[in-house]
Symmetry: C2
Amino acid sequence: MKVELENVKPMDIEKRSFEIITEELGDTPLLPGTELVVKRCIHTSADFDYAKNLCFSENAVEKAIQAIKDGACIVTDTQMAKAGINKRVLARYGGEVYCFMSDEDVAKIAKENGSTRATASMDKAAGLDKKLIFAIGNAPTALVRLYELIEEKKLDPELIIGVPVGFVNVVQSKELIMHTDVPYIVARGRKGGSNIAACICNALLYMIDNNRG
Amino acid sequence: MKVELENVKPMDIEKRSFEIITEELGDTPLLPGTELVVKRCIHTSADFDYAKNLCFSENAVEKAIQAIKDGACIVTDTQMAKAGINKRVLARYGGEVYCFMSDEDVAKIAKENGSTRATASMDKAAGLDKKLIFAIGNAPTALVRLYELIEEKKLDPELIIGVPVGFVNVVQSKELIMHTDVPYIVARGRKGGSNIAACICNALLYMIDNNRG
């Protein structure tokens, strides 16, 4: 057996991982202020494509951090993304995480309208009287509906994290969001996922407060 | 605005996605019987690396399917992976999903031992008197502990899904599992994640029963 384990203490694993990522990024250019978001996406996926595909609207990170400090809530399009977000740090500033995908009324409306549950759950979220950050890691139809709601002036979110993954309308739905005036963090192209959506939320939360417990 | 959406009905999106994946894979060789697992990993990540990095022990898919039909339970190392697994299909065969990462006793033991919660939660899982499939998408320390428990004859799992992601001991921990006699599905290298762990479970579940509701 030739497998040799590196001797790193549990509490130092993340630090060591970020050192390796920084080292391997070398002189890859990253937008100032976005480095921790980009590196956490690479940490979550071991995929250095995120150094190139992540797009940020002007001051998106600063605006998102201010929104969280002001008590913004996060809406996800999967229970998986909701499960991955550090809710304790968010709660310190008054925020909560919502996912309406499994709600009975959402399933009913989607069926009646021949739409997706993701579409119907964005409509439900738009009815919340709160500052909102959307973290979309799965359904391009969620992003398309957010685009429509913004165009119809029915929604004015603090930030859209647009990182659905996949092959049908994923690329297009992200481009739509980048055509709005809303702050965004988008993984251009096909890649993304619930894990990436959660990890971008956590990157923002840890930039405010690295005490995760 | 030049963004044009493809007109695909909600219920046809997944089918269309798999068609695109199949088309782009072209004549990439896939091990017979593993195609649906590989394609679902690509579907979940939009990352064609999984066509090359997924390794299967002999008849791993068939053995896993039999274990699920016999009521095997799934143990994960994150709440996110647990959230992503289709628990309704699993429940039809009597299985449940366990994740002990947030348990107080696990946190206490990890602290006392200077180990990770992932290590302690594998020890807790080994005490279950059930057929077990482990789906590890995050912590290489979980895989290392599983390897030790197997070597010490304290654990004989039906399958290990070894897909932690990252930079410290991730590659090595996967090689350890591939040195055991236990059936495995491993994403060789750094890539993987809770989403990949959940998606491999779901691929197996849908091969048994594609009625997901």
